[in-house]
Symmetry: D2
Subunit: 291 residues, 4 copies
């Protein structure tokens, strides 16, 4: 149950801290100090005030805060005191299904990272897929320490913005969610294609496809809801599959020219709108990143 | 080594029969009787003469001829006296990789078919994939006996036309080969896309993809040779995969919007020309069955 | 100034008739009799009640009503007692610019039509262009009298629905307006094309093009308002011209490959939504009737 | 009647000069001196030898040669001693239809150009349209004299290459011709569109369209011959108009959505291949510069 920004603006200090104390991992003092800056006109202003308090803390306090974050790990290796928020976030990135080799690699990289930078590897996992987590980790492992400390704080900003948007209702929310939508047009008939099943898969590095969303187009050729909304679109590779063969119906013996149409695409911007229409006839199709 | 039609037209009866006696399975008499109709102006005329001799034979002789064909089978179950031509043809349709369940089903269907029609199931396997063989068998298993006998003879015509085209060089060959070609255009630059790797896969019913052909586009955006030519395109489902990400080159972090572009399509006409171009930009593409 | 449906529902008979008496040409009795059916939940219900009163009148009264409509004519030949509504409607269809030959043809057809059917040719001119008026007139001139009387009443329904929608504000308006919209996507950049000038022309039979609307695309690649909205799209031929050359900017000497892109299309359904996007690169484009 | 390169290589000096003496305007000495370099393996080698002899001449001789070229002019103002080749070339660029204002402008620019550079404005008119001639003239009128002398000699090379290609048959011709071709595909049917009338217009600056070529597509969706071939494609703006409405046939009342599809494009490279296909359905189309 989200709390209204208006209500937050009128809470006593204790209640305010109770409402927002866990937004920054194990650091209720961030919310406590932000209290002084009430009232907040927007959720973004509230978030900015919390980030400003973190930034104003002594460097050792910030390092301590960073060190309060859990290591990235598969379920077996997770710290028993992981916060509920962290536990849920790590699951979304598919870190619940690590191979032994991956678990071992993660443990090795975690150690090497801590040794080099003095705090654990922090990443906003809700913006990532299994594959992009590893790519990101590999990329940051050898960064310059000053650059990497900024990168860790930028990830903190992303993690806490997402938590805040889930927690607080009000105007001016930070733009932390993406949208993935589609639109089917039957250009042989000059009309939207209704009743077409659309499936969205995320593709793993080994080519395996995991179903993320499934929907059937309505009279306007759109899915009733976007295929992804109200959350970041995890960075990674995807495939949309449009079952236009069923829509087009049977004709003659043998396979149709077009049956399942796959559109494979990469997402690099989790907060962006990916609108990916399919314009088709029984013998042709086109797609594009639309708006 | 093909023999020239001109040369064939001038052979003595024995040499003629030696050259063409195995075109019709275990039936050198077909070539023997066609000898009288020399000279043949075209390979098609030669084939027609052979088919006419088969058609003029008494029904029991034709039934006997049909019965001289092998059962469709995986390698374990193949008759030891299978002709070389039949052995090679059965391998092309992927019948060398049957699951035990499929081998058992094939045996069961072979028995049921022989029982119903009095001769073995005959199909021009070079026109088929693993999957379409089973679909074709299932479809014909319950046919009307008169209709099915015609279907078997039509398959004989296809099998022998393909063998003849391989054996005899000359004008007027029967049209028994298909072509599968592609063309890549970079419409952001208004020019053909050179150096793009194109892979063609055949798709099994279980979604597994088997590589059939691979090529790199030349300066005109075409593969040096068609991806399939000089043979029928087996009926089935295919996927072309165009590695345009490598062509487009790196840009920024994270996955590209388009990297490997898959085009999935079905082939119902093994003797047709399937020209399947890809027009693309970094953010869009279209494809169609061209000519 | 439109009047609210709620207000109409509460008017005294005189005021009601004053508000709606001119919706049906020279026939205030139609509104007068519809008064009894108040209150109207929707504008469509009000219109239906008026049409029902017209339909319930004796045939001679209906004929009289039809005869109260003006002849279609150029300005020189218009009756001095033309109602303001009719005068304005006739101008929209470009009947103010008739050639002498056309004026003469119209006079001849008006006489022939009256002679055959006993009332003047009635058409909802706001749904037509200059060219389609003549095509419609020619088509109906030789119709069966019973069919044509129904056609005339169907046009009355269209004319009065449009007048009512202009006059009355309220829920459930009859769908008498069309929409013509566009969308520009630069598929080489994968983004909307902003700042592109779009011009809409109506094409006359002789190929002359008359500017109907002009707009510049915004950051989303759309015009701030649809090119046509809040009125029927007159039946006819149109050309959209997109000045993408200015957007793409200069490159080298000589003409660009694409500069002004014309899209020529016909409108047959004045009440429909014609969404006509342009997806383009410097070297390619595509368009379609979208939704 | 072209002469064979082989034959030329074996002519006596007089006959050689007679055959090629008029390739360079009023300068038979160019051919005469090139004679010494026989035999020529290719037409390009012959042309290169002639250009080399021109380049080896003393500057005053070259200036004299340039001065032997006629002014660009409308028919009224043309010098009576204009060579037949020049007369024909000037007509192709539409200089036969100058407005009085244009004729006056040309006269003024001719005088100014001669005054500045000491020789007349020379341009390979077969590579130009009416409009591009004026644009080219305006661009070169204020050039640096050294640069402009090179530009004039480059135009001489183009003019003489075209004349030589018309005169001499043989291997290795200079690439002085362009090709403009099209291809129609009905993507709703997945087949070429046969029987469609295609018209090519050149567009004047005032929007007037002059028919250049007209053809009907064959069974492969192509015109029997390219719309332009065996000559340069004059620099300018063009419009292809595809009469797909007639091909699609009648449906219902009112205008079709697509009837005449215009594709407007510019040509900047007269020697290039412009392949401009149209892929269409009744409700959509796309086009691109192909190869």
């Amino acid at each position: 149950m989200p709390v209204a920004l208006d209500a937050l603006n009128n809470l006593a200090p204790d209640a305010f801290a109770a409402a927002l104390g866990d937004i920054f991992e194990h650091a209720p003092w961030v919310a406590g100090r932000a209290y002084a800056h009430r009232p907040f006109a927007t959720v973004t202003a509230l978030h900015a005030a919390m980030l400003a308090e973190l930034g104003a803390a002594p460097p050792e306090a910030v390092t301590g805060f960073l060190n309060n974050h859990p290591d990235l790990a598969g379920p077996a290796a997770r710290a028993p005191d992981l916060t509920a928020a962290s536990r849920q976030e790590q699951a979304t990135a598919g870190l619940d299904v690590l191979t032994p080799e991956e678990a071992e690699r993660l443990a090795r990289w975690n150690a090497r990272y801590r040794e080099r930078f003095g705090f654990p590897f922090i990443v906003c996992v809700r913006r990532h897929t299994h594959g992009s987590i590893f790519a990101e980790f590999a990329r940051r492992l050898d960064a310059d320490p000053d650059v990497e400390r900024q990168a860790a704080l930028a990830e903190i900003a992303r993690i806490t913005a997402l938590r805040l948007v889930d927690r607080v209702d009000g105007p001016g929310k930070p733009e932390v969610h993406g949208v993935l939508s589609t639109h089917l047009l039957d250009t042989a008939r000059g009309a939207p294609a209704a009743g077409v099943t659309v499936r969205l898969f995320v593709l793993a590095g080994d080519g395996a496809a995991r179903l993320v969303a499934e929907a059937v187009t309505n009279a306007d050729g759109r899915t009733p809801q976007p295929l992804i909304a109200a959350r970041p679109i995890p960075i990674g590779s995807y495939e949309l599959r449009f079952a236009i063969g069923d829509y087009l119906g049977q004709r003659g013996d043998g396979p149709r020219f077009l049956d399942i149409v796959p559109i494979r695409f990469g997402v690099a911007g989790p907060e962006a709108h990916y609108h990916i229409p399919l314009l088709f006839t029984p013998w042709s199709y086109s797609t594009y990143r639309g708006s």
